[in-house]
């Protein structure tokens, strides 16, 4: 997971729970494209229409709290979201997103700095976030080596496949 991503910011408050990110009523869907249509429906009904590949979500504390539904990470990833930057994340959502290869960065103070529609550029390796619209910048907390390894492999599925491939060769 090298390089710099650029995209617009969608900004939300604290404690955005998984029912708001992906309502329980659609949990029987599994096709990522269908799942993506309901992204953020309960907090921002226009989100799914407006989001473009490369855009990012900026939020307050405890983003992704509530249920363990992987749909919450799938819906954001499939809708084109390139990273989520928040004050903090709920732990199951964190695992789910990283497993899918969707970078999550803990960025203290970010929710107050960025406004909806600002252009962000994020250096994932350095953890540097720049709001190009206002010139403000924030440094994200570094990711653990294990999480970096998962993201570097493009998610846990390719990583496990690779590990098992290696094991099988031994």
């Amino acid at each position: 997971m090298n390089g710099i991503i650029k995209g617009r910011a969608f900004v939300y408050g604290a404690n955005i729970d998984t029912d708001q990110i992906y309502p329980g009523g659609y949990l029987d869907l599994t096709d990522p494209e269908l799942v993506a249509r309901h992204a953020m429906e309960r907090v921002d009904p226009d989100f799914a229409k407006e989001v473009k590949p490369g855009d990012m979500i900026v939020a307050g504390a405890n983003f992704g709290c509530g249920s363990s539904r992987e749909h919450a990470a799938v819906t954001l990833k499939a809708s084109g979201i390139a990273a989520v930057l928040a004050e903090s994340f709920a732990r199951i959502f964190y695992r789910n997103a990283i497993n899918l290869g969707l970078p999550l960065l803990v960025c203290p103070g970010i929710a107050k700095l960025v406004k909806r529609g600002d252009m962000l550029s994020v250096d994932l390796t350095e953890g540097k976030v720049i709001d190009q619209t206002t010139g403000a910048s924030v440094t994200a907390q570094p990711l653990s080596a294990y999480v970096m390894a998962i993201l570097g492999n493009g998610g846990v599925k390719p990583m496990i496949r690779k590990q098992r491939g290696l094991l099988e060769e031994e």
């Binding site: 329980g24 405890n62 363990s68 709920a90 732990r91 199951i92 899918l100 653990s144 599925k157």
Partner: protein
């Protein structure tokens, strides 16, 4: 080390683990529920063919029990077929109830186990001295393939409960008070242990409610040190096979909070956040369209018992619906034998088969825009039980029954003295 750390150390095949480190652990029991067809997808996508140890896997068809759409029916069909193919004998079909209650009823969780379910309320099993934690579908698929998963060894917060519980006040009120005081994100990434003399007066059912609700403060897991109450519950069905782990003297908790429950009044979490907690007195008289009693948080025999006590020989308010869902087949049978079902149906309750039902807003009692519900379940996020403009108050089973009776939020204490 904390007892929880010893559980992880044992599961990792190590003498010791250190707070904050990431360890790979063998999982003792892995559960999948029917919201997570992605588990089977991820299993296939990672090249899984045979489940590592089918005896350690439980499949629950509980969230959509029984199926109300063709997609749900098809998902459940795929789960059943997977179990038959893979030799997973612990298939809990739609007649069994909610995952966490089934695990308790069947005594499948014992002290010292590492239990992982695709459900956030897996913290419930701290009531049995187990390390229970929720994960998503792909993490669970990794367990199916390898038998293992990585965990970060969590800091532990200790919540010490002192004082005397008043009449009409229950574990649900205590934990709502704790969450209201500490906040919905206070426990994120950390474990919560309950200690103190109040636990001596709480049965397994109420301890499950305490541990279950720690999820609403973001906790990774919960813990209550097994004691005679735990053993009495477990030993009527099986013999304990491993020594019970205890926390070393001198273990340093990340934080210790003492709550004196003396004088605590019934609590309520008002819309739309579980930490928006106050005395129920603040909302007395608020009209209620639906009172909901059930779920892995508030659908146990004791919960139906207190509702039956309040409603015995009375009728619910004609403008209120009272939806009751026993948490499991076991709960249903016991409540039937004790006459609670008869009492509640006579009082006007609408019964739903043991399952998650309307708890997650998919079926069997969901809310219209502008309606108000009081629930014994765990969450009041916008839209959790139906329309996003419905209002949900989270309270104890007694408060739910009192509201059904009066058609408005009411203090249950008057019916319990």
């Amino acid at each position: 080390m904390h007892a929880l750390e010893k559980i992880l150390a044992r599961a990792a095949g190590r003498e010791e683990v250190i707070t904050g480190e990431i360890v790979n652990c063998a999982v003792d029991l892995a559960g999948i529920n029917d919201l997570y067809l992605q588990t089977l997808r991820s299993f296939a996508e990672m090249g899984g063919r045979k489940v590592h140890d089918p005896q350690k896997v439980v499949m629950f068809l509980d969230h959509f029990a029984p199926a109300s759409t063709i997609t749900q029916a098809d998902n459940q069909k795929q789960f059943r077929e997977f179990c038959w193919e893979q030799g997973i004998d612990l298939l809990m079909d739609i007649n069994e109830g909610v995952c966490h209650q089934i695990l308790a009823d069947k005594r499948l969780v014992r002290p010292g186990m590492l239990v992982v379910v695709t459900d956030s309320h897996t913290t419930t099993h701290g009531a049995f001295g187990a390390f229970g934690t929720g994960v998503g579908a792909t993490d669970l698929a990794i367990i199916l393939i390898t038998g293992q998963l990585w965990f970060r060894v969590p800091e532990v917060i200790r919540i010490h409960l002192e004082g005397t519980i008043g009449k009409g006040v229950f574990a649900k009120d205590i934990i709502l008070k704790v969450i209201g005081t500490l906040g919905a994100d206070y426990g994120v990434y950390r474990a919560v242990e309950f200690t103190g003399p109040v636990l001596d007066r709480l049965g397994v059912s109420e301890r499950m409610t305490l541990c279950n609700m720690t999820t609403e403060m973001g906790a990774k897991t919960a813990y209550i040190q097994p004691d005679p109450v735990t053993f009495e519950f477990l030993e009527d069905k099986l013999e304990l096979d491993s020594p019970v782990l205890t926390t070393d003297p001198g273990y340093r908790y990340a934080a210790v909070h003492t709550f004196d429950v003396t004088g605590l009044k019934p609590q309520v979490a008002a819309p739309h956040s579980v930490d928006n907690v106050s005395d129920i007195a603040e909302y007395l008289g608020r009209p209620i369209n639906q009172a909901f009693l059930g779920t892995c948080t508030g659908g146990r025999v004791e919960d139906l018992a207190v509702a039956a006590r309040i409603l015995k020989g009375r009728r619910i308010n004609p403008r209120t619906r009272f939806v009751v869902v026993p948490a499991s087949k076991g709960v249903f049978l016991e409540a039937m034998a004790k006459g609670y079902i008869q009492t509640l149906v006579e009082a006007g309750a609408t019964f739903v088969t043991p399952s998650c039902a309307a708890c997650l807003g998919t079926h069997q009692g969901i809310l219209a825009p502008g309606e108000t519900c009081i629930t014994a379940s765990s969450r009041n996020f916008p839209g959790r039980m139906g329309h996003a403009e419905a209002e949900i108050f989270v309270a104890s089973p007694a408060s739910v029954a009192a509201a059904a009776l009066e058609g408005k939020i009411a203090d249950p204490v008057q019916y319990l003295v």
